[in-house]
Symmetry: C2
Subunit: 126 residues, 2 copies
DNA sequence: TTTCTATATACCTATATTGACATATTCCAA
DNA sequence: TTGGAATATGTCAATATAGGTATATAGAAA
């Protein structure tokens, strides 16, 4: 059942933090590392989990893997993402993550090219 | 984190079916057995799990344990229960459960006394 | 008391999840 | 073609989950 798959994805804090960030914009793994301050392998595995369950999509851009919420989402995923957004508004952790993300965005100044070419920036992980 | 506890409770089909029924009315274990057609031990364990996570409350009425959603629920639980309700509207399983419940209610004719005294009825499980 | 009904718990097994460490892969640049 | 950067995967250990069988408990009835 689709719902169960969604809730299984939702029942880990790292994954919730990832989804919270992805609700704002697609991101590459190094961004998650910077914002969440968790080891690369942990983030990578949770992303793989989310992808295997259809909660995120990934595309490669040069060296980077860009993860994002699926372009077309079922009604159930949509509702639950919205609900998650509501619930998360007041949580310090999630708010901090979004602030960190905003800071990193303005520092690196990227737009739809989530990870700009290496020649124009420091590595994401700083 | 409260949210995680909620989603862990939500990521099992039997528990979702239980919560769906409880959104309609408090119930005793034998009702779940009748509606869900799952073995008593399975239901009892899932109820114990839900109770340990604060998603349901229980009180004893004579021989029966009456389970219900908590009287006062946090905003997160409230939102997610509502979201669950929305998502579940269209699922055959959940709809069937509610129909079965309605049938059982009219057959047994109980009101706030979820399980009426034995002298006035057949056992819940039939 | 003894018995019955409703429910809970112990114990076991199988499987899933999570995190850590080490290693592999992919792409790019020199 | 070699090296480095970004990301993924394999293996392992610890823990959690889920279902089954058998048994225990609590309350009501006989």
């Amino acid at each position: 059942m689709e719902l169960i798959r969604i809730y299984r994805c939702f029942c880990d804090e790292t994954r919730l933090r990832i989804l919270n960030l992805l609700a704002a914009t697609p991101l590459c793994v190094c961004h998650f590392q910077g914002v969440l301050r968790e080891p690369q392998v942990k983030i990578s595995k949770h992303l793989a989990y989310l992808k295997s369950k259809g909660l995120v999509e990934a595309r490669r851009h040069r060296n980077w893997m860009i993860y994002g919420l699926p372009a077309k989402r079922g009604a159930e995923l949509e509702s639950n993402l919205k609900c998650l957004q509501d619930c998360v508004q007041t949580h310090p952790v999630f708010k901090r993550d979004l602030r960190e993300l905003a800071a990193m965005r303005s520092k690196l100044g990227w737009l739809e090219e989530v990870c700009p070419p290496r020649s124009r920036r420091k590595p994401c992980r700083a």
